[in-house]
Symmetry: C2
Subunit: 182 residues, 2 copies
Amino acid sequence: MRADAARNREAVLRAAGQLFDAADDPEQVSMDDIAAAAGVGKGTLFRRFGDRAGLVRDLYEERAQRLHAFLEDDRDRPAAGTVARLMGALLRFKVENRTLARALENMGGASPYTNSSYDRLHSRLEDLVVEARGPEAAGFLAHALLAATRSDLVEHLGDWPEERLQEGLSALVRSVLGPESS
Amino acid sequence: MRADAARNREAVLRAAGQLFDAADDPEQVSMDDIAAAAGVGKGTLFRRFGDRAGLVRDLYEERAQRLHAFLEDDRDRPAAGTVARLMGALLRFKVENRTLARALENMGGASPYTNSSYDRLHSRLEDLVVEARGPEAAGFLAHALLAATRSDLVEHLGDWPEERLQEGLSALVRSVLGPESS
DNA sequence: TTGATAAACGGACTGTCGGTCCGGTAAATT
DNA sequence: AATTTACCGGACCGACAGTCCGTTTATCAA
């Protein structure tokens, strides 16, 4: 990748990140806005990212790296509470990246599910569910846990204090994995 | 409402229903398509339904009446298994109305949550959760149960036999409400 | 240093779609 | 039959995702 290309890629991701963070609704952020804010032509956006979904996915996954790094560190902590910590961290992430997460999840197609971050979370969670209660329905239960952090649900419950959401999530985790999982 | 207006309203809902049923992706169905299929001008659509979201909501709620009628009948059946029956019926509904449900849930804003069908399901479910395990986190748990039937999840799991989805849902219900809930 | 080459650039352009507007049409009412 | 008024349809508009192509520039070999 040529140097100017790499520089522009960074500029675009940074600009898009700021615009999504500042917006209440992902639809307020157009591709033209992003190009303008990055000081770049529109063609550059589409050449690099393919389409809007690609740009949003790349930005989301870049931000999700922090989350996955945390989960990696978490591997050598006590097993009890691992799922609770994972879900807690995920909710934090969704709250901190509300608009970007909504952009990703509303993109149509199977967008909430066609990104590597989701796959990684799901397979980790599935393993933990199997460990805690056996293989029966483990795949589905892992999806169900993740569905409880869907960003439009978080948005819908926007006037709840985050603490209350965390308690709800925690009750859900205890229900699915058993009381010793906290 | 004038007679021709009522007639056109019906024609539009019927046409829209057929188009969504035939489509794989809600975005394949444009407002122009619906107007043309209904034999009606575009203005008529927007005058009656306000915008695309309004039309989709009205159509969805019309179809959901069957579901709510079933849930009403279900009130005088044994309490054990009520939640499981409700969730099962809801999943059936989502499968039978896959594309329409995706249209509703992807409409942006808090669209999956701003329709009377969701509110009714949520409050019924919340009551049942309170009855089974007390008020703690009941509201959130009811949302979480409903989130497990999100139509894009159903879509993502499109190659699972419906039976397997039902089993997963059933395992989730037993976890949240206790084993005597089946 | 320079010249050739291919990658990258940018912004004008296109097609589509949701939503509006308004001159015409026909129900309803007397 | 005349009048009113809600309703109709489709031409029109603005916005946006995505494309195209003439121009620029990084790279590298001579």
